[in-house]
């Protein structure tokens, strides 16, 4: 009992810290501007509600008996709420705003729901307790119900967030009953909860039953899966035809990140070398394209003539960088690549190379790809180019993974010395990883330059490297489908959430740390890496079960 209460206390304090952090960095205020469901439930409140629910859930989980669990939930939620009341009190009575830019009256109004002083102070506590109690009840539900509920809520949330896409798909009147100007209406939310709940329940029970049956080769290629697959292809092919230009733009940047992600995945995921300067290759590709095709330059190439050069020069950049740093391991390599990325950026921006690269103004009027008489101009046109690029990159990456070279990379990732002893040439193997990764980066950069029609040094800062790295990690290190998932989650979603932009990197940082703490293998894990990354403590004598032969 005593330890349980202490844990509840700790969870509550941590929750309070997180809640105050959310408020003070201004996330609550910014997110409150977007109403997700009806006129009341904004994204900001949703953030706090999720936190309360989570606090209650966690506190209940540690307890053994249901009653103690709920008590713990109340205590933890109360403390979390109280810390918010505390924040309100401090903001009202002291000049907190001189230090914390976001401790404003608007924040107080949000937290107290516009109530007067003493009542307003109670509101966060009461809501904290009640919502964590809900979280506690949630923890006590049976597993199936918990999963159904969780997935339904997530689905509704996602529908609200994706309002822009979905609303453009629906006929006007029907769209209006389901969607408001920024999210779901009550009817929309209710129907999503109801229908989604039933569907997810049906799906989960179906899968449970499927699991009991022995797996056959037929169930792997069921007609359902084929149908889904062809639907997906249809969706991808026709996407720009029915979506708005804005959405094609988003899809384009997702696609560019997928190409880069696939490239970096070869280096980080397969060969296990942490490269923090990947943006350098992207920049090299983009600048090569710009210099070769821009009318202000000397070359006047067309897009198709310049593209191979972009890729090849990026690749040689990869080799030049790779050669010296091959002998470094782990963290040194990360720092050296980080330094290399910065060197490229500073060189590009400097007056020294201004006559060639245009300094801070960059280069404009970059050549557009043409096929016969058709010129690629809009984001919609580039969508297809990028889609083809993604497919090629995917094909190469997936073939490489199963090739001899791919296995050599993975061997090096697991243990360099052993790999070398087994006859793998460390230098060439690592270099090819770097070179092919850089090639993908160059391809992505070249398309990017042509698409936005101008390159400026500002578009090539460190954040791109971090973005690409984050999407690989969130998706699952070394996993190819993970790259897609990561790109959609980390590049696509933020583009759709305009409010999110300002806090993008804050959230990335938090996501990276939490991922590493709780789910280092990512959202779509690579099976072989999963158990390596997941054990935090190695056993004294590593015992591995012998691989069981596959049943025929």
């Amino acid at each position: 009992m005593k330890t349980e209460l202490r844990t509840a206390l700790r969870i509550g304090l941590l929750g309070g810290l997180v809640a105050s952090h959310i408020c003070l960095v201004g996330m609550l205020e910014t997110f409150a501007k977007r109403n997700l469901i009806g006129d009341y439930l904004s994204m900001g409140y949703l953030l706090l509600l999720t936190l309360f629910l989570f606090v209650g859930y966690k506190a209940t989980q540690v307890a053994q008996k249901a009653a103690t669990g709920l008590l713990c939930a109340i205590i933890a939620g109360g403390i979390t709420g109280a810390s918010l009341s505390d924040l309100v009190f401090l903001t009202q009575n002291f000049q907190l705003r001189e230090i914390f830019a976001h401790a404003s009256p608007a924040l107080v109004k949000l937290l107290t729901l516009g109530q007067s002083k003493s009542l307003g102070l109670l509101i966060p506590i009461v809501s904290g307790i009640s919502w964590s109690l809900f979280g506690g009840f949630f923890a006590l539900l049976p597993k199936l119900w918990r999963r159904v509920l969780l997935n339904t809520l997530l689905l509704t949330l996602l529908l609200g967030l994706l309002r822009d896409i979905l609303n453009s798909l629906l006929p006007g009147d029907f769209g209006k009953t389901l969607f408001t100007s920024s999210g779901l209406t009550y009817i929309g939310a209710g129907s999503s909860l109801f229908c989604g709940g039933i569907l997810i329940w049906a799906f989960l029970t179906y899968r449970e039953q499927q699991k009991l049956k022995p797996e056959t080769s037929e169930s792997r290629n069921s007609p359902l899966q084929k149908l889904l697959f062809s639907l997906l292809i249809l969706f991808l092919l026709t996407f720009p035809l029915w979506s708005k230009s804005f959405l094609s733009n988003v899809a384009d940047s997702v696609g560019l990140y997928i190409i880069m992600g696939l490239g970096l995945n070869l280096v980080v995921g397969f060969a296990g070398m942490l490269d923090l300067g990947f943006v350098a290759f992207y920049a090299i590709g983009a600048y090569t394209m710009a210099v070769l095709t821009s009318p202000s330059g000397i070359f006047h190439f067309s897009f198709w003539q310049a593209l191979p050069f972009s890729m090849l020069i990026a690749m040689s950049g990869g080799i030049i960088l790779g050669l010296p740093i091959l002998r470094m391991r782990g963290d040194y390599l990360a720092i050296a690549t980080l330094g290399f990325g910065e060197i490229i950026r500073i060189l590009v921006i400097s007056d020294f190379l201004k006559p060639y690269l245009g300094g801070a103004q960059g280069i404009t009027n970059i050549g557009k790809p043409e096929i016969a008489q058709f010129t690629f101009k809009n984001p919609e046109h580039f969508y297809y180019l990028i889609l083809i690029g993604c497919l090629i990159a995917w094909f190469i990456a997936s073939r490489l993974k199963k090739s001899r070279l791919g296995r050599a990379w993975m061997a090096i990732r697991e243990d360099e010395d052993v790999a070398q002893a087994m006859g793998i040439n460390r230098v060439t193997t690592k270099l090819t990883a770097f070179a092919i990764g850089a090639l993908f980066g160059g391809l992505s950069g070249a398309i990017f330059a042509s698409m936005v029609d101008s390159v400026v040094p500002k578009s090539f800062d460190l954040l791109i490297s971090i973005n690409v790295l984050a999407l690989i990690i969130v998706g699952g290190i070394g996993s190819l489908p993970g790259v897609l998932v990561g790109a959609v989650v980390l590049v696509g979603l933020p583009e759709l959430l305009r409010e999110f932009q300002e806090y993008r990197l804050l959230v990335y940082g938090a996501v990276l740390v939490t991922m590493m703490l709780y789910r280092p293998e990512g959202l779509w894990p690579e099976v072989t890496l999963q158990h390596i990354l997941h054990k935090t403590a190695q056993p004294e004598f590593p015992v591995r079960p012998l691989p069981t032969p596959e049943k025929k």
Binding site: H21, L24, V25, G26, M27, I99, F100, A101, H102, V268, G272, L274, L276, L323, P324, I325, L326, R327, M328, G330, D331, Y332, A334, I335, A336, G339, F340, E342, I343, I346, L347, I349, S350, D351, F352, V427, L431, L462, I466, L469, A470, I473, I477, Y503, L505, L506, Y508, G509, A510, L512, V513, M515, M516, L517, P520, I532, L533, T536, A537, Q538
Partner: protein, 348 residues
């Protein structure tokens, strides 16, 4: 291929060629600058003193990298942000004191209070970082640790941006530090002096006290130290606290020289301090100090010395390129640093 009885592969030859070309460029540039007598002796002296002051700051930050690397074998990417947090708290306290008209009436006590507060804030940030992000992952694979550190770095950076806004805050002036002393800016002298004093205190702490001995023991061999009765968790936390507080003081000194703070300020000094730590030999405390001063001077003198000589316009823009190139070169040619790593067992 064999050369001087050693086996050499192609990559090594290319690396040596790159290194040789760079060295030649530096040599030619320096000679041509010196022959044209572009700068007076006084100007060179100014460069060196400015470089030394900056180097002192790098040295203080580098200590944090080196000590943490010593005990955990982890590059604490977020250390630049620890430094930034110190500079920020120094700014707020200085602005408040300035408003209360105390800063210029009692400058020395005020500065001491500011330094103390910054050290405390930075130490707190560093210890929290260790407790939340690094301790649970102490036995995880290295890649996991590195990614956590990068994530933590961005989290801290943008937390500060959220808390205090993205603008550049300008530091209040301190009257007593204005003007020259024997033709040298007083601020620079103060910065150099305090950096040296801090380094001395820290060295004494690590060599002389029981806690310092515990830190050294853990650097030597964590498991054996634990068996000999060293409280590993506590000692590692202390290491972070000590590294954090020196970074905080470095933040105050940085603010004295450049008199502005913003949320992104930790990145470049952090990288350079890391360069300094590697240059001196990571894990080695006097090495970090030496590396810091050397890097500061090199970076201050370098653009005028050899980039001007090569006829590169606006050479000062390329100051950071020098530092980063130096970093890459050291990592290639002498990864153990100038003073070498003081480790009994070879690192894996």
């Amino acid at each position: 291929m064999y050369l001087f009885g050693r086996r050499i592969d192609a990559s090594q030859i290319i690396v040596w060629i790159i290194g040789g070309v760079l060295f030649l460029l530096v040599l030619i540039g320096s000679i041509s600058t010196l022959l044209t007598e572009r700068y007076t002796v006084k100007q060179w002296l100014d460069f060196i003193i400015f470089g030394a002051a900056q180097g002192g700051i790098y040295a203080l930050i580098a200590l944090g990298y080196t000590m943490v690397y010593g005990v955990l074998r982890l590059i604490n990417f977020a250390h630049g942000e620890v430094f930034m947090s110190g500079a920020f708290s120094a700014y707020f306290l200085a602005a408040a004191l300035d408003k209360a008209m105390l800063l210029n009436r009692y400058p020395i006590p005020c500065l001491l209070v500011i330094a103390f507060l910054s050290a405390a804030v930075s130490a707190t940030v560093a210890v929290c970082l260790e407790r939340i992000a690094y301790r649970p992952l102490r036995r995880a694979p290295r890649l996991v640790n590195l990614i956590t550190a990068i994530g933590a770095s961005f989290f801290l950076q943008y937390t500060f941006r959220g808390l205090y806004g993205s603008g550049v805050e300008v530091y209040p002036d301190i009257a007593i530090l204005k003007g020259d002393f024997w033709g040298i800016r007083k601020t620079l002298l103060v910065v150099c002096g305090s950096a040296l004093a801090m380094l001395g205190i820290l060295y004494a702490f690590i060599q002389g006290t029981k806690t310092g001995r515990a830190i050294r023991a853990i650097s030597e061999d964590l498991e054996t130290a634990a068996l000999m009765g060293v409280d590993v968790d506590q000692t590692i936390a202390i290491t972070f606290a000590v590294g954090g507080s020196t970074a905080g003081i470095a933040g105050v000194l940085y603010a004295l020289i450049f008199s502005q703070v913003n949320f992104f300020m930790g990145f470049v000094p952090g990288m350079k301090a890391f360069t300094a730590a590697v240059m001196g030999g990571i894990g080695n405390v006097p090495g970090a100090a030496l590396g810091g001063f050397l890097l500061g001077i090199f970076e201050a003198v370098g653009p005028s010395l050899f980039l001007d000589g090569l006829g590169i316009p606006a050479a000062n823009q390329l100051k950071d390129v020098i530092a980063f190139t130096l970093l890459v070169l050291i990592l290639i040619f002498r990864p153990t640093g100038l003073l070498g790593e003081r480790l009994a067992v070879k690192r894996t």
